[in-house]
């Protein structure tokens, strides 16, 4: 039956994450953006909320909670409202945990999942994006070739979050023209982590170029073993996660500029009393809500284990456009103040611009 109300359990999670975003992330996000560093304290606190580990089955050391894309979307929105860099850092291990949980072989689950059930943040990441114009996740330049019982990985990746600290990387490569995932462990020969990247936004998130110069990995490290993985579903989960984060960033910008417009007086009245400003805010409010609902529908399809490519990609393009429109207007509503780094809106605009680029950098 059509309903727009989260379950009680989801509401409790949302309340908890909202509080963390407000009390912790919002206190330091600017400092983090300027310094490029996120204090490990906050990452460990976030990890302690169990946002990723809860859904690991008991037999692998977790709590055996339900793994739901809708819940994931709710969490991602609230976190991203706090700060996008921190959100992507906190949720980064999910890039290995969820694909292994959903598509991994029994051996892969047994080998990799227990490490993510501890109290301390365990770094893991995925490498999908490649540094070239016309990058397409469905025709990757990075290749995986089976040779003498092991896979040889060759290629260049970029925008790999936390690569320098990751114990495990899920590398996506083309095998006979099809995108597949390969589990690569830290320190393996031929795996080279490049310099930390410098980006327009998400400046507090450490991302790296990664080179795979003929990395030899065991055959059984192919995600899903002989069956391989459902790459389409991996992409759809990523689209839903990123869309939810886009909604969170946009909501932050909308709320901030709305409150500012009510306070800021020009010509004797708050600027929000003028339709030119009020209508911008109304459209921002409508589009934030609409985007959230469109994304929920895609998440709901994923939870039903149905193909959601159409819904997820429509949600993603819609949210990509929406977040840019909303964050840009937030800067516009603040005028000159919006351009100054004392206010957060310029940061949200820089972060918002990135969603069209962030393929595969988050998942639900």
């Amino acid at each position: 039956m059509i309903s727009f109300s989260p379950t009680e359990e989801q509401q409790m999670i949302v309340t908890m994450v909202k509080q963390f975003a407000n009390d912790e992330m919002r206190k330091i996000y600017r400092e983090c953006d300027e310094s490029g560093e996120i204090p490990s304290r906050i990452i460990d606190t976030a990890w302690g909320l169990g946002l990723v580990s809860t859904s690991i089955p008991e037999e692998h050391g977790g709590l055996g909670g339900e793994h739901s894309a809708i819940t994931g979307a709710l969490i991602a929105e609230e976190l991203a409202w706090g700060d996008l860099s921190m959100t992507m850092h906190i949720l980064c291990p999910a890039l290995v945990v969820y694909p292994v949980l959903e598509m991994g072989t029994e051996e892969q689950k047994k080998k990799y999942l227990p490490a993510f059930c501890g109290d301390k943040f365990k770094t893991a990441t995925a490498a999908l994006i490649e540094p070239r114009f016309g990058f397409d996740p469905y025709s990757l330049s990075t290749t995986a070739t089976l040779k003498d019982g092991s896979y040889v990985l060759k290629g260049e990746k970029c925008y790999v979050p936390l690569a320098a600290d990751a114990d495990v990387l899920l590398v996506y490569a083309a095998e006979k023209g099809k995108s597949q995932g390969f589990i690569v462990e830290k320190g393996i020969k031929g795996l080279e982590i490049g310099e930390r990247e410098k980006n327009m936004g998400i400046k507090a998130l450490a991302t790296y170029e990664v080179s795979l110069k003929g990395c030899n990995i065991p055959k059984e490290n192919r995600l899903g073993g002989d069956k391989g993985c459902d790459f389409e579903r991996i992409m759809d989960c990523s689209r839903v996660a990123l869309s939810a984060m886009a909604v969170g960033v946009a909501r932050a910008a909308y709320e901030y500029s709305r409150d500012y417009a009510k306070e800021r007086v020009a010509f004797g009245e708050p600027i929000a009393s003028r339709q030119a400003i009020a209508f911008m805010l109304a459209e921002m409010a409508i589009e934030v809500d609409a985007s959230r609902l469109v994304n929920w529908e895609a998440a709901w399809k994923l939870d039903k284990k149905e193909t959601a490519t159409k819904e997820a990609s429509l949600a993603k393009t819609y949210c990509d456009d929406m977040v840019l429109m909303v964050t840009d207007r937030a800067v516009q509503i603040l005028g000159g103040h919006g351009y100054i780094r004392e206010h957060p809106v310029e940061l949200w605009l820089r972060n918002g611009r990135g969603f069209v680029t962030f393929d595969g950098m988050a998942t639900v």
Partner: protein, 398 residues
Amino acid sequence: MIDFELTPEQKEAIAAAHKIAEEMLRPISRYYDEHEDESPKELIDKMWEGRREGGLMAGLDMAAALRTEEMFWGDAGLTLALPSPGLGGAAIFATGTPEQLQRFLGNYNEGGPKWGAMAMTETSCGSDTAAIQATAVLDGNEWVINGEKIFITSGKRAMEDSPGLVVVWATVDKSAGRAGMKSFVVPAGTPGAKVEKKEKKLGIRASDTVTIVFDNCRIPFENILGSPEVRKIDKTGTAGFKKAMATFDATRPFIAAQALGVGRAALDFVREALEKEGVKIRYGLPRNKLTALERDFMEMESNYKAAKLLTLRSFSLMSQMLPNSLEASMAKAKAGLAVTKITQKAVEIMGPLGYSRKLLLEKWMRDGKINDIFEGTGQINMLVVARRILDFSRDQLK
């Protein structure tokens, strides 16, 4: 639990309405667009016969939204012309007493086809409904109504062609401003209520839109909807005006659902036409690999989805009897704009075929535009949304 699954009953409601839309509306869609002075009598009679099954009494639940979308997918003008308590009925549902509901609509299903209408707009006021000039004066046990009302949907069918009714808005005390504004039920055949001009419109031509002149039109005291008492204006607004606005909370979601139907008609048509030409929309590709056509189509489609979900949300609240003013206006503003954009783009994409009256695309573009106008223009709805999100009064945001 967040859920988008339709119930079996909702699926049935959609299927039944879609069958009517496809088999009864589409075949005569163009004819009644081009012959606006003729009435689709056969359709009206058939729909009236099946009124109990077909559910002409729309209800306010999710199934009503879905049914409305399907019927408007078939044809907007014809669906608006079908017998229904209409906006007058909605006003009685929203603001009448149980006794009034029984008296005015209790026998609705008996006898021949009937229509209901709402008379609010005047020549000098549209969206600014608080500026209404029509008057209602209490004379003994009767209200005497005077004034001229325009743009009344189904006004002719309600007042001339059937024993229907019109809900008319008038002030009982001009000095009281919005507080003096009340609504009254005027049954067909009441002396002094006369249908005059029938408008010629851009679209929804099968639906009649008329002027009604009230000239010393007398109705019983009991025909006033809500309290006759005039309260002085306080800063929270006033009861009379709020009743009118409460009616909009119920009707705006329907207008949004109507817009969805017309928008989806255009979307479905374009998708099928493209598929026939061997063009399939490739979802999931990176943006730089998509054609301009695919981008356009995906934008139309996601706008439709966004509008639809906002609309269903406003119905969901309404069916739970929860406040939905903000959500109703959000849905109406978004859906009106979405249908405008979708149908205009559809005409563009199909080129010479889109502009030709051989196909229905140009008609849908003309029909759909009404949804961005009636029951509050897109701009008025943006104003409602803006006031709500800012928590501003009418004086703080004009």
